[in-house]
């Protein structure tokens, strides 16, 4: 009898814990998208298929993804977190400062995004918004749009600098195809 109880209890703990982890991931993202500040970023063409997750388009945010040498004087030797302050300019959002910690003072209009330098000696900053998953076979169409400069990405940023993709702007049209859940 005790074996019966144990087996089912074990099953409940395992399935329950794993479901809770998945639920936490979903709630975390949904809150970030709902409550984060919204900015619209330009993207540049790059290219792709994830082994497990299907087709996706790689999004490159130009100077935001690769801050100039004047902003990033010393490239950290190890994998490190980097906070990049963005300011809106005529040509779109541009990086104006980088720091190792979240800046103490942020101008009202500025946005700070938390990035990672995933490779040693790399200047490429990743914010976790570099891939956009599309239905099988649709990647090429989006890539063409990116090539023509007709695609922008709506990004939600929360007060700790975490960013999430909220939607796309295609040919000037705001496409809200990212439901919160």
């Amino acid at each position: 009898m005790s074996f019966r109880f144990n087996t089912w209890l074990a099953m409940l703990i395992v399935a329950g814990t794993q479901s809770a982890v998945l639920g936490a991931m979903v709630v975390d993202r949904a809150l970030l998208i709902q409550q984060g500040r919204e900015i619209i970023l330009d993207v540049q063409p790059v290219d792709p298929r994830s082994l497990f997750r299907g087709d996706y388009v790689i999004l490159n945010y130009g100077s935001i993804s690769r801050p100039g040498a004047s902003l990033l004087k010393e490239v950290p030797k190890e994998k490190r977190t980097l906070f990049v302050t963005l300011r809106r300019a005529a040509e779109g959002w541009q990086p104006v400062a980088t720091s190792e910690h979240y800046p103490d003072k942020v101008e009202a209009d500025d946005v700070v995004m938390k990035g990672q330098l995933p490779r040693r000696y790399s200047r490429q900053v990743q914010y976790g918004i570099e891939s956009y998953f599309v239905p099988e076979g649709e990647g090429k169409r989006l890539e063409k749009l990116i090539g023509k400069g007709q695609l922008k990405v709506i990004v939600a940023v929360d007060e700790t600098g975490r960013a999430a993709i909220k939607g796309l702007v295609v040919e000037g049209q705001r496409v809200y195809d990212e439901p919160m859940l």
Binding site: T7, I13, Q18, D55
Partner: protein, 368 residues
């Protein structure tokens, strides 16, 4: 029990009966018991098929996620996958309870794979780029939890494979040593030892060996194969000590000897053939060490009836000889001289072993 063992017994028993060492009834009983391994083998086939089926179902679920099928809202897709997760673990518990453990392991494995697919689905839903290895280690943790609590070794093995994937990926990303692999590996091995998952522990030993060998090429100032060689020698030495007087840990001693040997050989090969700046005379010296070590391992394998060590040692010997030949010692004349010299040395060793055996036999004969 292996077929060859049964065949051997069928050949030997009549002789033993004729010699009067075994009574005829005893011989019959022994043969009957050896022949009676049918159900065991069938069970193994059922177990293997059930695991393969689980792997295929898991691959199907992962492909379903990867297809990113838009006909179904994301949340419904997630609900479907999480529902499958519950169904798989539920089926596992039910089958364990009904005494159908072989199928239960398959069901739990499906659950563990579906958990991984769910993590990927959430990442896909929110276009999470992040650090992909993070998703892998989360999946590994889920598989370990399932394997431990549901008492299912296949899930533990999945956890081990995922930890290896995670470690390899991180190592590649940082182009340096990824030390966190060690504690994660330790957790997996502890879980496997506790569950008595023997093949899992062996697989883990191989994984650790690969990681240690990789240190030679990832440590600052690499190649650092001499350091790897030292680790291999230390592990092998520790294994010998355990095997000699390890009591309960003796099986681990056997494993450690094999692991240490493998690591040492890989390091020696690296020292000779990867680091091209090495001088010829030092390559020859290292080659002599490698060949001697291989022969010692063959002898130790024979002595302790460790067939796997013996085979590994033969393979190491062959690789060394072929690599050496490929590198050609200046001229073919020199190569030829080297091989003849090595051959004479090996035969001398064989003679020594023969002589020692006879001495030992004489002494045993005298003392009895």
């Amino acid at each position: 029990m292996s077929l060859s063992y049964r065949k051997q017994l069928a050949e030997d028993l009549p002789r033993w009966v004729a010699e009067g060492w075994v009574r005829p009834e005893g011989a019959q009983a022994i043969l009957a018991e050896v022949a009676n391994d049918g159900p065991d083998r069938q069970n193994r086939i059922v177990g293997i098929l059930s695991i393969l089926g689980a792997v295929l179902i898991g691959a199907g679920v992962i492909s379903f996620v990867a297809a990113n099928w838009q006909e179904m809202p994301r949340l419904v897709r997630l609900g479907l996958v999480v529902g499958m997760l519950w169904a798989a673990y539920g089926a596992g518990a039910f089958l364990f309870e009904r005494g159908l453990a072989l199928f239960a392991h398959g069901a739990v494995l499906v659950g563990s794979v579906v958990f991984g697919a769910s993590v990927m689905l959430v990442a896909q839903m929110y276009h999470l780029h992040g650090n992909p290895p993070d998703a892998v280690i989360l999946w590994a943790a889920g598989a370990l939890l399932a394997g431990l609590l549901m008492r299912s070794n296949p899930s533990l093995v999945l956890g081990l494979l995922l930890v290896c994937l995670w470690g390899g990926w991180e190592t590649q990303l940082r182009e340096g040593v990824f030390w966190l692999f060690l504690p994660a590996w330790g957790v997996v091995v502890a879980a496997m030892s506790w569950r008595g998952c023997e093949y899992g522990v062996k697989l883990a030993a191989v994984a650790l060996g690969v990681w240690i060998v990789s240190l030679g090429y990832t440590l600052p100032g690499h190649p650092r194969n001499e350091f790897v060689l030292a680790i291999g020698v230390a592990i092998g030495g520790g294994g010998l000590a355990l095997q000699y007087r390890g009591q309960m840990l003796r099986p681990y001693g056997r494993l450690a000897v094999a692991l240490g040997f493998g690591v040492a050989i890989a390091a020696l090969l690296g020292l000779q053939f990867v680091d091209w700046r090495r001088e010829l005379w030092s390559v020859i010296g290292l080659a002599a060490v490698t060949l001697t070590l291989s022969l010692a391992a063959v002898a130790w394998g024979v002595w302790t009836q460790d067939r796997w060590l013996m085979r590994a040692a033969f393979v190491a010997f062959a690789i060394e000889v072929v690599s050496l030949y490929a590198r050609t010692l200046g001229t073919l004349m020199n190569t030829s001289l080297f091989f003849v010299g090595a051959g004479v040395g090996v035969i001398a060793l064989a003679l020594l072993a023969f002589w020692l055996n006879r001495k030992l036999g004489e002494r045993m004969g005298a003392s009895s």
